[in-house]
Symmetry: C2
Subunit: 306 residues, 2 copies
Amino acid sequence: MTPPTDTAGLTLNISAVEREAGLSKDVLRMWERRYGFPKPSRDENGERQYSAGEVAKLRAIKRLMDVGLRPGKIIRGTLDELNAMADGRIVPRREPAAPAVEREILALLTSHDAQALQNALANLLMRQGVLKFVQETLSSLNHAVGDAWMRGELAVFEEHLYTEQVQIALRTVINAFPRQSGVPKVLLTTFPGEQHGMGLLMVEALLVPEGAQCISLGVQTPIEDIRRAALAHEVEIVALSFSTAFPVRQAGDGLAALRRQLPPKIAVWAGGELTRRVRKTLPGVTLVPDLSGTLGALKAWRALPK
Amino acid sequence: MTPPTDTAGLTLNISAVEREAGLSKDVLRMWERRYGFPKPSRDENGERQYSAGEVAKLRAIKRLMDVGLRPGKIIRGTLDELNAMADGRIVPRREPAAPAVEREILALLTSHDAQALQNALANLLMRQGVLKFVQETLSSLNHAVGDAWMRGELAVFEEHLYTEQVQIALRTVINAFPRQSGVPKVLLTTFPGEQHGMGLLMVEALLVPEGAQCISLGVQTPIEDIRRAALAHEVEIVALSFSTAFPVRQAGDGLAALRRQLPPKIAVWAGGELTRRVRKTLPGVTLVPDLSGTLGALKAWRALPK
DNA sequence: CGTACATTATTGTCCTGGACAAGGGTATTC
DNA sequence: GAATACCCTTGTCCAGGACAATAATGTACG
């Protein structure tokens, strides 16, 4: 029927592009109708066959949309122009902190020495302490890796390796803390559709040393089950993580629904890249757009009269 | 536009059902056309609104299809009948081994004591050793949890908690082994679309004690990147994991494509529930339909003349 | 009696092209 | 300068048709 993952990268069918670029089939067809891009060739059955170049440009567009640009504005640009825009956006980086560290880690990544990478991360973690490692180093490293990936300087598998190794480092440090009781109890998870779990681990790594007790459900928990889990585990806080790619609207709706279904005394925190783009205020939901806000939010919660 | 995660679980729109049941929009519409089920009501815009009952039945159908049944045969059944079929299927269980342990873990799960669950798993692991724990206990536990979930005895969030806790236990034991060099080097990952990573951890937990060096890329690596990673890291074996839900065809095509793109001296292993349903033989691909076959495959690989 | 092959049934994915609502952007008013 | 109304952009949904790939079944042959 469909050779979903193509032989060599020659052409991809619409399902494969949906996966690779993160754009629904409907959107791919609609863009073709409206903007004339992408304009895939057709196979003998009249089915769309996307070229590798089209997929690369689609990925670049998706990435720019995830930071707020609209498709109509950028879809005419060439791949180079889009990458330049991304670079331009990067210049005012929030963490001009440690480009040396970034370069070092990126070099280890591209040299494919998993062991050395693991050691380097563990080393950084030990020297800097959890707080600095997560809030500063990891935060800027994640951006550096994401940008390098988008510019084509980093392969997907190298990014995957990075993610795995960071998660191992974070899990190790989390496990190093005693896991008994703690206050507050925090439930960590993401909404359905959100596959990125690193944010959860980063938050957990910040909260556990402060004496909080974290219960993670991993990614993609339906809202109704978040509610039930919060009640069953008698948590005081429910913390959600959203990556840039998550649809803003879905996040807003979901948070409102969750807030409605939870008893008022259970706090709802929303963090991650996406929360920087949220316009309207969500009553009863604490937005934590920056990791450094996590501990502040915890302090504020503890200061509340109980 | 679309309230994707509904207020209280009253009705879901087609996108939400796609997520919740794991059936594409096209399939949902096609079934309605062909079989008359599901027959969602329509809102004022004529858009489908699925009831909670329909979604429950859809999930049951999906689960049965994942073990080989065809929709036409089962779509007429009631939810109870479908659940009975699932129970019937379970009777000839492969591991009549330790129902006591299963009951204990399930009880801990439904009592929502994360700490006790963690302890129980760690305890089992220590007492039984990695081999027995992974091959027997986890294997039958996974089935018990999956079945309990399908029968509605276990909530989604309880299943999520189980998965998280098991992964923590596995990662801990994997980390306990020295991670330096080792032979062979094994690359672990899954194809795009396959989100379940527990199989990878289970395999890693079996291989690492045997002196193999495992490099995991996590889930969902595009085939082209698996190839590049295998070459970059100079591995001897590429091991893929497939859960039941993965489309057989996509697995077969992908494995054939991967085999074609890799040099012959790099072995390709495919494991997981799905590989039990694979009919045709895939030349150059070692099928490991059962976890207990993992160590056999490793022994066979080591016996090969190099 | 089993195995290889051909035929039919079942099932999923893709196609076109139309409709519409929600959110962002812009102009107007106070 | 802030609030409101309007338009434009954009994504998702719908219907119904087509077809290819799998599974199931039947048939011929050793």
